[in-house]
Symmetry: C2
Subunit: 279 residues, 2 copies
């Protein structure tokens, strides 16, 4: 496994590497969710490239950029063990050259859910993903379904800008009790961690109701809400049931793929989870 | 010369073409200025790709998108005669897929000069150039110095987004009397056309003063202004003397490369010209 710490090193190594090129962009502090992306790329592609870059522009002032967890040694060991060929660890001054003023925005999709809660967040995400795509020039790029809105935004940007990259969404990986893997799970106290299982449990309950024929979005949201509200340490940011492509909130009965997503705060830690309901 | 009317056709042809790939994006109604770009690409590159696409998003409501001059037959003949290998004429619905909401903005640089006169113009320019770069994937792209701010914006965007493209600026091509070639020159009445020569003449006068040691930006702007104001049909939009990289308007004596640029209206036709003063 070759570790490139500059764009030039990555490009030189990528130039020699056989295609197709699979790419897994990450912010590091890797867990089984990231490893499932590397494994998916490993099956599909001759060369697997991963990046570790904690992107400052997707954090707002007061968010956890400075304290975002980092563990480079462990990350590199995990990537090597899971078969990555190239790893890009670029310096922030190379990704954001001094004087950088270029930003990519994906309107409409980014004004709801995480975008409403975190203004500017998806401008930072879209911009850094485009930069990383330009550096790595992958044939395919792998993202987790756990960050569902991020996946929708990246798919849209890639399509709109005619980027020659296939965006592949991979299933959410979970802890044994169902909690979605996240780098931010380490922030949870034992009690918060215990109550956090309600996120996935409420989604499973909604899926069961949906399987039983419930199509009314208000009923399904309420079912989720009641289960989260039963946890004394949980503070709901949002519970959304929206069209899976446009992210428009649904009021009428579900007739097309719908994204049921939720964000819940435990102290300063915000957890996300979601499921897609397909009629 | 192969004419591709879809992205898929262009990509298939480009895939077979030898590198390096030179790219000349245009809005058609080609003139000697465009041809100089094709010729520059022809010298540098094994394959020359041109595009003709009148980009709707860089025109504001009420601007001349609908009446922008078009002449595909003549354009294709000129491109063939000047040695282009591939021409892309994409449909608007392929460049802007229904539901497209992604835009690229280059802050700071685009808030002055043409950007101030035409709000949103450079968002349209930056977005379509990125799309065309993603379709064609050129090694080098050629733009005229005549649209000086556009060139600065595209250079900045290409650098900021780490696009693997070398942006090449080419000298302005002029009519025998000095008027910069422009697709919009056809709109000028004979009297307007005669008076329009004052644009280039005023720039030559400023260059002469600069060569004689004049470094004060106010003096240089005034010198240009007086020559334009002597033309009864000319209405000045702006006369700017700015840092050539940041486009910040200069107030102190010129100490680094400075862009002297002007926009002048004749009726509804806005003409641009510029020169770079290098101390």
């Amino acid at each position: 496994m070759f570790v490139a710490r500059t764009v030039a090193e990555l490009r030189a190594a990528r130039h020699e590497a056989p295609g197709p090129i699979g790419f897994v962009p990450t912010m590091g502090y890797l867990h089984q969710g990231h490893m499932s992306l590397v494994q998916a790329a490993r099956i599909d592609c001759a060369t697997v490239v991963a990046s570790i870059f904690v992107n400052p522009t997707q954090f707002a002032t007061g968010e956890d950029f400075e304290r975002y967890p980092r563990n480079e040694t462990n990350d590199l060991a995990l990537l090597e063990a899971n078969g990555a060929d190239l790893v890009l660890l670029p310096g922030v001054e190379e990704v954001y050259t001094p004087g950088d003023t270029t930003r990519i925005r994906v309107d409409a999709l980014t004004e709801v859910l995480e975008g409403a809660r975190r203004p500017g967040h998806f401008i930072g995400v879209a911009t850094v993903v485009a930069k990383l795509f330009h550096i790595v020039q992958p044939d395919r790029a792998y993202f987790g379904q756990k960050d569902a809105q991020q996946l929708v935004v990246i798919r849209r940007m890639t399509r709109d800008l005619l980027l020659p990259v296939e965006v592949v969404g991979c299933p959410t990986v979970r802890e044994p009790d169902g909690l979605a893997c996240s780098s931010r799970n380490v922030y949870l106290t034992p009690e918060q961690r215990q109550q956090a299982v309600a996120l996935s449990q409420s989604l499973r309950a909604a899926e069961a109701a949906f399987a039983d024929g419930v199509r009314d979005p208000h009923t399904l949201r309420r079912l989720v809400r009641e289960r989260i509200e039963a946890q004394p340490l949980a503070a709901i940011d949002y519970i959304s049931l929206a069209d899976a492509s446009t992210l428009w909130e649904l009021n009428a009965d579900i007739e097309a793929s719908a994204l049921l997503s939720l964000a819940v705060g435990f102290g300063n830690t915000h957890l996300l989870d979601n499921t897609t309901l397909v009629p």
